[in-house]
């Protein structure tokens, strides 16, 4: 096989219309993040693999790895939150707190399940570091919702949870490590079938069973909190519910509560998230295009104890959903073709420069045949220069 004809596994080319739409989206995101006070930063595309591997933030097989001339293991950027935690603890030490940071960049992930998934994709996101207050979680979530709104999307839903609720159950009912480790995947995957068989074989108290089932089945707003509160007297669990109430209140104040539903079954990466966790779903994307939450232990792993919360947005999935909604920015605007004969070149070049200054796209065609015989392209304005005195 001659591989020269192909892009590598999980990689692809972006043609002009696609690239234009992506760059326009980036411009709008950059502007939006700036108006909210999230300063853009850049971290390298190549990091020491230790950045991702030392606390097992990422499975090693998911990293694109190679080594530097000294034999040290390097990795392509897998996400931007981990490098930003490194930045906050090292090069960004003297920036004033709290830190509001944003990024837009390319990520690389190998060995993702599902063959059709891109291995290289673009993400944009924000991190709010140095404040453990609920107002920080509220702000990040409000910005996430505003971001999707700014893109023109309306029909989207954010699922919200507080991981402390499940962790409190594990403590209260003293679930063994094995069960405590497998339950989140089952609850999160809404695997009712498996849950039933585990619940009956593990012989758990019926109160726990009914809480777990409620977590999987109930979504909604304040009424979910009201329904779950009577099921527990555990202080940690109640405080997690109070956090959710606080965030709903924040979003209500922002007029954004309609986009959020509480989902106590949302339990992903529990070793990473330490409080709020959320995922955003949009028609046309199939998978969550937005994910975020609070991760108070990450910065400490790099030597600086900073509470932090943030979100990331998958721009490839965003493109898919914008396309499905007919909202993709189009590059077919102010486009002209200027056809001229060789004798008129100087005049044509002057005219093209004048039009480009006004923001019009001008493509030049030098043609010694009669310019009026030039075949027209649909949706494009044609300008013919026949004689210099006519301009």
């Amino acid at each position: 096989m001659e591989w020269k004809y192909f892009t590598a596994e999980g990689m692809r080319d972006h043609l002009p219309a696609d690239t234009y739409a992506r760059r326009q989206t980036e411009i709008r995101l950059r502007e939006l993040f700036w108006t909210w006070g999230y300063a853009e930063v850049e971290t390298p595309e190549i990091e020491f693999a230790d950045v991702y591997l030392h606390e097992r933030f990422v499975k090693q097989e998911a990293l694109y790895k190679f080594s530097d001339p000294q034999g040290r293991l390097l990795a392509l950027r897998y996400d931007n939150t981990v490098p930003l935690a490194r930045l906050a603890a090292t090069s960004g030490r003297n920036l004033s707190l709290p830190l509001r940071l944003s990024y837009i960049g390319t990520m690389f992930r190998a060995n993702e399940p599902g063959g059709a998934r891109n291995h290289q994709f673009e993400q944009a996101g924000v991190e709010f570091m140095g404040l453990s207050d609920l107002a920080a979680d509220g702000e990040v979530l409000a910005l996430a919702i505003t971001t999707l709104q700014e893109m023109g999307l309306r029909d989207f839903q954010i699922s919200l949870n507080q991981t402390g609720f499940y962790k409190a159950l594990v403590d209260e009912f003293q679930l063994d490590e094995n069960l405590a480790g497998t339950l989140p995947k089952i609850i999160d995957g809404k695997e009712f079938v498996l849950l039933d068989s585990i619940l009956s074989s593990a012989n758990l108290p019926s109160r726990l069973t009914s809480i777990l089932e409620t977590m999987m089945e109930t979504t909604g707003s304040y009424e979910v909190l009201a329904a779950v509160r009577p099921l527990t007297e555990n202080q940690e669990a109640l405080s997690a519910l109070a956090d959710l109430q606080g965030i709903l209140d924040y979003l209500k104040a922002a007029g954004l509560e309609e986009y959020v539903s509480i989902d106590l079954g949302l339990l992903k990466n529990l070793s990473y998230y330490t409080g709020t966790i959320f995922r955003g779903y949009v028609p046309g994307a199939g998978q969550p295009l937005l994910s975020g939450g609070r991760y108070d232990k990450l910065c400490a792993a790099f030597g600086r104890d900073l509470p932090a919360t943030g979100f990331s947005l998958d721009l490839d999935l965003l493109s898919l959903s914008l396309k499905a909604a007919g909202l993709l920015p189009s590059d077919a605007r102010n486009s002209e073709v200027l056809v001229y004969s060789p004798a008129q070149r100087a005049a044509a070049l002057r005219e093209a420069a004048r039009r480009r200054e006004n923001g019009t796209q001008v493509r030049l065609v030098e043609s010694s045949s009669d310019p009026l015989t030039h075949e027209a392209e649909e949706g494009v304005t044609y300008v013919y220069i026949a004689e210099e005195k006519n301009i």
């Binding site: 989207f156 009712f192 199939g286």
Partner: protein
């Protein structure tokens, strides 16, 4: 009312699923027509069906082109997709098992590296890694898996066992059960949120037909 797209595996699984949906009060008459069409919409437009190969159902659902799918647990285990697995539909019951010559001792490691013939390479690799801490040699086959140990292509097989008759007639035996399987209903993660009302109604109605509502208290 948003329409739900359901991916069905052509054949017995689709027939059983149609029967269940009809009992649950959904109009599925459109599926009775003898047709080679791949996409069907039912009378009131509440359901759209897409007919796929059994092994492809999880792919359609994960990507979101189908909201819901009916697939065998064996397929789901092999594919390991990001899906919600919400219902055991009961039919298509069988088990995934390690089978081999009668009396074969899986725990006798003097045999060297174990050769496993299977249609389920991922399930097999995971099972032996998790249960035996053993890296086995996988031989991917597409059918008549039982043949492999008989002709010496492999030591054992990992395959679906229903009645066990094929095994018996070929002097093979179930050595260990990997997983109990049956048809499952899976749901796309985004659809679960974005079509919450329609999909939870579907789940609730199917549970009632399956008699699973009482024990769950829904």
């Amino acid at each position: 009312m948003k329409s739900i797209t359901i991916a069905l595996a052509k054949g017995r699984l689709a027939d059983k699923a149609t029967e269940l949906l009809t009992q649950a009060g959904y109009d599925c008459r459109v599926l009775q027509e003898d047709s080679r069409k791949l996409i069907f919409t039912n009378g009131d437009g509440s359901l759209r069906f897409i007919m796929a190969k059994p092994a492809d159902v999880p792919t359609y659902v994960e990507s979101g082109v189908a909201d819901v799918g009916v697939a065998g647990k064996d397929t789901l285990l092999e594919d390991n997709r990001n899906l919600f697995e919400v219902l055991d539909l009961g039919f298509g019951a069988c088990r995934l098992a390690v089978c081999g010559p009668i009396g074969f001792d899986l725990d006798d490691y003097s045999r060297g590296k174990l050769r496993v013939a299977t249609k389920y390479p991922n399930v097999s690799r995971r099972y032996f890694a998790a249960e035996k801490h053993e890296a086995v040699e996988i031989i991917k086959l597409n059918g008549s898996i039982e043949l492999a140990p008989l002709v010496g292509l492999s030591d054992v097989i990992v395959d679906i066992v229903e009645s066990g008759r094929t095994l018996k007639e070929n002097k093979l035996d179930v050595l260990e059960t990997v997983a109990a399987c049956s048809a499952r209903m899976v749901v796309n993660q985004a659809s679960m949120k974005l079509k919450a009302e329609e999909i939870s109604t579907l789940i609730r109605r199917l549970r009632r037909v399956l008699g699973q509502d009482k024990e769950r208290g829904v």
